[in-house]
Amino acid sequence: MARLDDDGQWIVMMGFLVAVSIFFLALVINQATLVGQTTAEGVLEFPKSDIRDFTEEVHTLVDTGDVYNSTINETLRRDIIALEEARKNTIVNYSVQQVDISGKTYNETIYHFNNGVTVYDATVHY
């Protein structure tokens, strides 16, 4: 029977340990691309521009007096709702009313946005 050479067992064990730690680092690199991609997709898929377009348009209407003293311009509101539904498959709505907070009068605008994936609601006092 051949003699088993049992010298250098520490070296062999350390070799394995180093190999395992390199595996761990490789696993991190392996996942990095996937994590980066899904994160970027998540950020891009959020309908930021659609929501901002809707709220900015309503805000401009409020700001320029088209919606004021609790009298919403119903024609413009129906235009926005119809266009968003027909062309963007998005359900939107908004309402404006004047509220008194700490002795000051604000326009309280309530936004609702739902495109089937993202639901966004906001209440703005301005």
């Binding site: 595996f23 490789a26 970027a40 997709e41 377009d53 348009e57 024609t75 926005i80 266009l83 062309r87």
Partner: protein
């Protein structure tokens, strides 16, 4: 008789084989392959660019003044819209040739009959129907019916939606 010599060498061989297999698996798995399903990432980047262009065009240069986009729609000036949109869409920070993006714009509006109609509002060339286009939109308030628009455009103050198809030409 089965020889039981060199059993440690056999085990070492198996361990080494495992190490090599693991390495190859990790190296092969780290490369990401661009599949057709991933093309929506560049589409979404195109959408971001298009939305930015519309945002810039819809921002007035002075407070309480009307934006270029509103001006073009109010006067139905598709020529200036095209020029402005093209320059914003294709400009690059570096010297050299402009980007090769193409676009076609439309305006959707609420008709006198209460339905939504869409009418062309300028494009930078013909389309084959096979473009991999993305669509960006923006709501615009105009004070009345612009000249040279279809007959079912309402005369009153209204909100219309500018829609732009953008693709890489």
């Amino acid at each position: 008789m089965v020889g039981d010599d060199a059993q440690l060498y056999t085990m070492e061989g198996i361990a080494a084989a495992f190490v090599i297999l693991m390495t190859v698996y990790l190296v092969a798995g780290t490369t990401s392959i661009y599949t057709p399903g991933d093309s929506h990432i560049s589409d979404m980047q195109l959408e971001v660019l298009g939305n930015d262009v519309l945002l810039v065009m819809d921002t007035p240069t002075e407070e309480m003044k009307e934006s270029n986009l509103t001006l073009y729609l109010r006067t139905w000036n598709a020529t200036d819209f095209e020029r402005n949109f093209t320059s914003l869409l294709r400009s690059r920070t570096t010297d050299g040739p402009d980007d090769t993006l193409r676009f076609a714009a439309f305006v959707s509006y609420n008709t006198t009959a209460g339905t939504i109609n869409t009418t062309p509002f300028g494009s930078d060339g013909g389309r084959t129907g096979y473009e991999q286009a993305v669509r960006v939109t923006r709501l615009v308030t105009i004070p009345g019916r612009p000249p040279e628009t279809p007959g079912d455009f309402r005369e009153i103050k209204q909100v219309v939606m500018v829609e732009v198809l953008i693709w890489r030409g």
